[in-house]
Symmetry: C2
Subunit: 489 residues, 2 copies
């Protein structure tokens, strides 16, 4: 049994994380603009307190003395020990320097992006990189320095493994994207799609997926996100534009994240393990609902008529087949966040390769824009006109966050692997989707993914759920089958 004092301390960490989550959610959804300055202070204070509690020697001693019974308690002690040790490895002075450098880089990055002037951002990125190298030095025994960064987002994953998996993914995606680019273009959704009707349809969709008013809420935010404050307090946010349906798909995406948090085993509640295990597994959930459910043919058999009823003027010129093709447009482009299901991972692969080179020291920051542009040409066949639409587009590096990007593509890969298992395990899956029923998918995900929280490492979770290791083959198979049919290649 775990000691009450250990349970209390883990509960406290869980609570501090939830308080931080609320502060962040409110900042993006509710806070009047004037509240920003004070909010920054409050968030920093809570983060400092959480770090203090996470690194407390008393917590280490309690974990040393713990005598866990059974698998669950063993997992709690193992994961809590890992969190504690990782936090303690990083000197407070370095953690503060990283935070300060990240904060200081925000304005120069935004300004550099707005004025297409990479040189403005360069010294800040160099500083971030220097500090990440010092961070990496705090940890011994990694095969590759980038492993340490990856581990913060995808515990246990190695650079070598990502290289191998992304290499195969790239080999499969580049020719597919090129073939689609050479094929006859898919029709475009004409629109317009009035926002009020989108909001109504999005809520109906969210409810069909599992959103319920007793435990969820949905609000507007500039950048859609999902935030769990507890398994019974899930908040998703949305944003709609009148000229496309991206807002609807973003809602499916965020509800996918939300369902993961909502279906964690309640017994993990205040143990710090009652949340998603990694960003990659989390992204697999959002992508599964957005792409594998939400962009599928049977899905639109059910929702197509509702879409037409909601937006008669915006859809009347399209046949059902053309509607499906319009919803699944593939078009190599410059911007990651606007990318489709096929080309998205190529944007990620580029960033991964550049990050590894930066950490290895084989790519100087001054050479980064050229390397970026060359990579975009090679992977996506597009010419980057300026750094604003190139190397400066994402906020991640301004925060010094390296190791984060790969999880987006891992999510796509894992989603496809899970989908293969779901198709194997759920008889009549297509008919259920075509009838607007998602209970079986939700139950499968609860059983094989969600309920475990952080008790099982990502690789182990995937293997238990699918019988396979991380493998891009199912994703490539699914994308080839789907898009060669849609584009008649």
């Amino acid at each position: 049994m775990l000691s009450p004092e250990l349970e209390r301390r883990l509960g406290e960490l869980t609570d501090l994380s939830a308080a931080g989550g609320l502060l962040g959610w409110d900042q993006q959804t509710m806070m009047p603009p004037g509240g920003g300055e004070a909010r920054g202070n409050v968030m920093a204070t809570l983060a400092t307190l959480a770090h203090e509690r996470q690194t407390a020697p008393e917590l280490g001693a309690l974990l040393d003395a713990a005598q866990p019974d059974g698998e669950r308690e063993q997992a709690i002690v193992r994961v809590a020990r890992r969190d504690h040790d990782k936090a303690r490895r990083v000197p407070t002075e370095l953690a503060a320097a990283m935070e300060l450098a990240a904060a200081r880089a925000q304005e120069p990055w935004a300004h550099a992006r707005a004025t297409n002037d990479f040189a403005l951002f360069r010294p800040y990125l160099e500083r971030n990189l220097e500090l990440r190298r010092r961070y990496v030095d705090c940890f011994e025994g990694a095969e590759h320095p980038y492993d340490t960064l990856l581990d913060n987002f995808e515990p246990g994953l190695t650079t070598a493994r990502v290289r191998e998996v992304f290499g195969r993914l790239r080999q499969g995606l580049v020719p597919l994207a090129a073939a689609i680019a050479a094929a006859e273009p898919a029709p475009v959704l004409p629109g317009p799609f009035p926002v009020a009707a989108q909001q109504e349809l999005a809520l109906e969709l969210a409810r069909a997926f599992g959103f319920d008013d007793g435990s969820w809420r949905m609000d507007l935010a500039v950048h859609p996100f999902a935030q769990s404050l507890s398994p019974q307090d899930i908040r998703v946010t949305a944003r709609y534009r009148e000229d496309d349906l991206q807002g609807l798909f973003a809602v499916m995406h965020e509800v996918g994240h939300g369902l993961y948090e909502h279906q964690v085993d309640p017994v993990l509640g205040r143990t710090t393990l009652g949340t998603g295990v990694s960003l990659g597994i989390h992204e697999s959930q959002s992508r599964l609902w957005e792409n594998l459910v939400g962009r599928s043919e049977p899905f639109w058999r059910h929702w197509g008529p509702k879409l037409r009823a909601a937006f008669p003027a915006g859809t009347e010129d399209l046949s059902d087949d053309d509607l499906l093709r319009a919803i699944n447009v593939v078009k190599p482009g410059l911007i990651r966040v606007d990318a489709d299901e096929v080309t998205y991972s190529l944007h990620v692969i580029l960033r991964f390769e550049l990050e590894v080179a930066m950490i290895e020291g084989t790519l100087a920051i001054g050479d980064l824009p050229d390397a970026w542009n060359a990579g975009m040409q090679e992977l996506l066949g597009v010419a980057v006109p300026d750094d604003t639409h190139g190397v400066l587009q994402d906020i991640h590096w301004s925060f010094g966050e390296l190791g984060y990007f790969p999880t987006y593509a891992i999510g796509n890969i894992v989603a496809a692997q899970l989908w293969t298992a779901i198709r194997r395990d759920i008889p009549g899956l297509e008919d259920q989707i075509a009838a607007g029923g998602y209970g079986a998918i939700r139950d499968w995900l609860r059983e094989h993914v969600h309920r475990h929280g952080r008790t099982v490492q990502p690789a182990q979770l995937l293997e238990r759920a699918t019988g396979e290791k991380l493998d891009p083959a199912p994703l490539l198979e699914q994308l080839n089958a789907k898009y060669r049919a849609l584009y008649r290649i």
Copy 2:
């Protein structure tokens, strides 16, 4: 100069208080019901952390060593020292017992109220009272045990002083209320007042008082309240019923609270002094805007036409004079929260007298319902039909909160004193109000009340602002003048 470490610790306390404020605001306005259990844990954890930081010996040592320059820094050290010493006096075990007893009493109180069965609540109230007595014992040197409780809400105020002031107030109010009860009744607002139109009008009113979208927001809540997260992040809540205009007045009330917090001197930001100094002074601000501005004749010269435009059906049968009388109905009743400007303080005086008797031990809890009913007859001339509409109506005692009620009447008294000073200092005040302009009132309150935050004790603040000590005479004069005219007595 204050040491950076002292400033850091005071900033941390401010931040923890703001985080707790957000958790509470969200709970009342946004949180899905399922989030309640986890929210309780998060709030308890933050409260525990705040108490730990508030009582930290390091804070005491920093305050001992502090060498404050000037009045502001001296006030910071004085108030922080006071907060620290008060928190340290109470053993953690007793603080926890009080919290536990309060939590345990909620359900029995609600059940007792719903079933009109005081006996169900009695043991919980006895336990709360026993713990408050132990709390009082932690503090030495008070003239009267109730002083210690009062001090938590109205620093520096004594039981003897409240007795004297409330005694005079009672002497003036009882005959006035009786005279009004014997006069011809005022007309009643017929209504209905559709909620959407009320919301629109309330926002217009709030904006006229000083609400701005850059620093404020307004939401719905079951019980209206105001919450400041920082002077630039003020949140007021409202509730509307179709059959009356109480929701409008509640908005004026809460905006009054909000303005106080909004106009605190920014330099007090993260010092723990950048907030209202006491509940009584706070209530003076809400009552001033609600009653002295919002129920006045010149106010309705401006807003009457807007009200008629918003609710033509609900107002067409009333002349302007009758509208003003309907808005100022006085009617002795059973329920404090429904009470009017004249009878409200009598409800408070009853509770004060009973609380003092309970703490003194001269009133046994078993005799409380009879004492309540006798007091209602004596003060308000009403017969209490059952404990649900009597001694069980308020939640405060179920939390063990004694010493809180008096601040409601103190607020009425202080508001009248400030109003006398405002009338003296602002030439053409009535004309400004009749023109819908409140800038001069807002500026006067900023200068004389708001900006000081907690740097000046309530009694001193009042004396500096008005030249007078706490005195019920202005309130009695104003109420007599206003209501004898309205009721033609």
